[in-house]
Symmetry: C2
Subunit: 547 residues, 2 copies
């Protein structure tokens, strides 16, 4: 395997970058004025990527994935999926073509790839991914031989995804793969995407399609901001009224236990964790519709005015309810982490309520309502602790000084994030950055470049502090997205974040990335995702058609 | 018909507006924080609209449209379409329900609407709409009787659209229509939507879906910016190389004569004109690929540098080619107007070319290249004149002083539009406004309100000048849209423009329009258009699902 690659000088990562820049300039004289996309170059860029111009044809007729050392449900499912990803709906037609004498004459069979050999060291039947997953893999394509090897199945999955991306159509219409050697692993362990299913409902079908898109970009955490003020679509077994009264339409716009299980399994098979967020004590208006007595009654003068504020920490029903509710959540969502929210708690309603005022006095909090918020969060954190789960929280919880477990992950979402990252990591917490990647905000033109150039470790801090950065998350808050536009608004803008979180720090020039991003967009379209144009005029060989 | 409506005090247009505002305030105390949408109120708002709370049920089993005085292909097609628009895919299930005793027991049959009677005065078999179409209609719903009457079929079509929008589901799930009297006609005769199929290709299928969406909002001109610098997808019969060499993919990304005919017929059946734009002499890079010698050769020093500029007006082949080409265009597109473009002509290349320089000298133009542009446009206008067609042109042509036919329509697209509208109408030209409605530009939030509040007659000028404003056009330039996102990006933002161009000038408060816009969006979703959320959190009873 080594000697065959001694001549691989044209294709190192940096050389490829240079070629891209040159092709950009040559494209300027093209009458169609568009940048020439790459062919068969992966997104996100692997850590080490060497390739030559030597093409191997793919033999569709005999093509198969094989595993030597291990049997695994995840791999078997992936093989079916990735075969279709390469050959699409044309697989059968392609097969037929190969039988014709003209076709056989046109392409030599020698050197063709009929097999992709996958080697995984550890058993993986029924595995679920975690923050500690080993996602590394190596991949070689040479003389018609393809080998993918990984310690864990998660790395093997990414190796398969990369291999599929190496396949492209030659000028004569044949599926080909260039000789390539890749050694790859992610820069960050947590590469998340947040969807908000409360401001608008999103169908389970689109959640699954989005998981497919995430896998195509090696994102590995679906942060499911499942409920919020506006609606409560999570169907709880213990508290069915939460959704029957708190969802927009309990008949059609809820996630049943079956839906949730389907999302989790679909994600697991793609190496994606599902981290559910049940945000409290603020952002809980919809909880109040199905769980009477959970929210604080707001007062106008001496009487309740009919409106409600955050959860009421003073009632003796609040924490027993939360304990039972989160016990269910922990049983439904297998991930080691639960996202507890904790952001944007307004004190106005608490301040108006006489019972709360008494409680504040009793606890000697004075008028410091941040203390009351801390009290609430501390009780909730203790509950999650007792369930043997870790938690992710928005930055306010730390800012307000709550005592949290040492393995807590803190998510930074506000502006001035460099200072906040410095502060949170100084306290020794694992940290995620979201501030740079609020993809719900839109503006005209190629805004992906701003997401692409934000580096989550670019803040003042020691190496130990930097090492506490687990990665980041892009967010798609739901005020202005629903099933009509969520996928096209996310992709391929989210791909820019995905590369930032996966690839080496020095892979960071938008102009260099652009031809590869165009290829990635067209690849996603071919695989059923309506990834919108983000680099100006152009086209894809296969345009999107609704499935 | 008069006496039955003597009590219609609750539902005049202004009263309805007031009720909306009140409902907005009451909605603020709703835990789900969303504005309550209207039920069965049309978009755009008719000129005169009176309604009561008296509901008539719709009898799905016997429901039919009937025409008394006239046979007409357009109406017959509309009846099929609008029956489906009311009952959707549930029509059969609904029919079955009505047979069950329980159902019959539940709903009284009295007062049910089984027939919509349509009366059109003028023959309309095979008609094609025009700038002079009479689009007025009247509509009454009372005691289970529905009558739509119009001078021309175009008004009848809009009456049918309005009727369908009056139908809504009652709290008990029955299709109902309130007693209503409408007298309606558009404020402006030209209500256009521009799609650009050159920067990105758009499938014929999505062009047709967009025509459906236009009809749902009473827009009546599809401005088809069909070719531009980036690609030439129009398949010409006389000059097939224009698309075989100038399109992105001649196999899949062109509009064949069949495609074009399908678009025109689909539009005609919906009362929509198709105005094709073949923009020249600038914006023509893609023409040069299939029509050698049409574009100006740019020089670097004394030699051509391989790049090309605008059309070359000095060659004796240029105008014969244009004459033949536009003769074909005139035979393919039945509309009385052709859009000739004429915008953004760069002089740099002309200035570099020695032959052009000689020509400038010969014509005594000095160095005033605007004269050369005028020369080109004048020749082109004469050609269109000889084809007995009118033309629409971008404002530059007038700014540059070309002599144009008195019935020319000038389209204003640049900033400072108030001054330009004043200037163009002072010269006596019919005028269209586009400047306010560049919907390709996007920003976060409810940007529809800015489109909604731009009034095309709000400039300094006499009544005679104001009367020259034919209407306006919203544009969706194609740099960042293709089949993945064009419909969701257009709708319902384009609905805001549609109401501005149809409804009386004083229907112009976004806060009042919002509950109706939400209903319109949900109605469009139910009818297959992925209209995105534009008013913040909320939901539709039926969420969008890709067809």
């Amino acid at each position: 395997m080594t000697s065959n690659f001694s001549k691989m000088v044209e294709g190192s990562r940096k050389m490829v970058s240079l070629l891209f820049v040159l092709s950009l300039f040559s494209a300027l004289s093209d009458a169609k004025l568009s940048v020439t996309p790459t062919k068969g170059v992966p997104w996100p860029m692997p850590m080490d990527y060497k390739t030559t111009g030597k093409q191997n044809t793919v033999d569709a007729a005999s093509f198969r994935f094989t595993t030597r050392s291990v049997e695994c449900d995840i791999l078997l499912d992936a093989y079916v999926r990735y075969r279709e990803a390469i050959f699409g709906r044309n697989a059968d037609r392609f097969h037929a073509m190969r039988q014709s004498p003209k076709f056989v004459q046109m392409f030599s069979q020698e050197g063709d790839i009929g097999e992709v050999s996958v080697d995984v060291s550890k058993p993986c039947q029924g595995s679920y991914p975690s923050l500690e997953s080993d996602e590394s893999y190596s991949l070689s394509v040479a003389n018609g031989q393809v080998m993918i090897s990984a310690q864990e199945v998660w790395g093997a999955l990414w190796g398969l995804e990369t291999f599929v991306q190496l396949v492209y159509k030659s000028d004569t219409g044949e599926y080909v793969v260039n000789d390539t050697i890749i050694s790859d692993k992610p820069r960050f362990a947590h590469r998340g995407l947040l969807l908000d299913t409360s401001r608008h409902f999103l169908s389970t079908r689109n959640l699954l399609r989005n998981l497919d898109a995430m896998a195509q970009n090696k994102l590995n955490v679906f942060h499911w901001h499942i409920v919020d003020d506006q609606s409560f679509p999570y169907e709880s077994m213990a508290f069915p009224e939460l959704s029957s009264k708190g969802s927009y339409f309990p008949e059609s716009q809820v996630y049943t236990p079956t839906d949730v299980a389907e999302v989790i399994e679909f994600a697991r098979l793609r190496g994606i964790r599902v981290v559910a967020e049940f945000d409290s004590p603020g952002h809980t208006q919809s909880w109040g519709l199905g769980q009477k007595g959970f929210l604080t009654e707001c007062y106008s003068g001496e009487k309740p005015d009919g409106s409600y504020g955050p959860a009421d920490p003073t009632l003796n029903t609040t924490f027993p309810f939360l304990k039972q509710f989160f016990a269910e959540v922990a049983s439904v969502f297998p991930d080691q982490y639960i996202h507890l929210g904790g952001d944007e708690v307004s004190f106005t309603c608490w301040q108006s309520n006489p019972v709360i005022k008494d409680f504040m006095q009793k606890m000697s909090y004075g008028t410091n309502y941040a203390k009351l918020e801390e009290y609430y969060m501390q009780n909730l954190l203790d509950i999650i602790n007792s369930l043997k789960r870790g938690y992710i929280i928005w930055q306010e919880v730390i800012d307000n000084g709550a005592k949290v477990r040492p393995d807590t992950v803190v998510e930074v979402w506000k502006g001035g994030w460099e200072e906040e990252m410095e502060k949170v990591t100084k306290q020794g917490y694992k940290t995620l950055l979201a501030s740079c990647w609020y993809l719900n905000y839109i503006s005209y033109g190629s805004d992906w470049t701003t997401y692409y150039t934000c580096d989550p470790q670019k803040f003042n801090g020691t190496d130990a502090q930097k090492a506490l950065v687990m990665g980041g998350e892009l967010t798609m808050w739901g005020e202005y997205v629903d099933d009509t536009n969520v996928l096209s608004r996310l992709w391929p803008r989210a791909s820019a974040v995905a590369e930032r979180l996966w690839s080496p720090q020095d892979v960071n020039f938008p102009l260099v990335a652009q031809p590869r991003l165009i290829e990635q967009r067209c690849r996603m379209i071919r695989r059923g995702i309506p990834a919108e144009p983000v680099t100006g005029p152009g086209t894809c060989p296969v345009e999107y058609r609704e499935p």
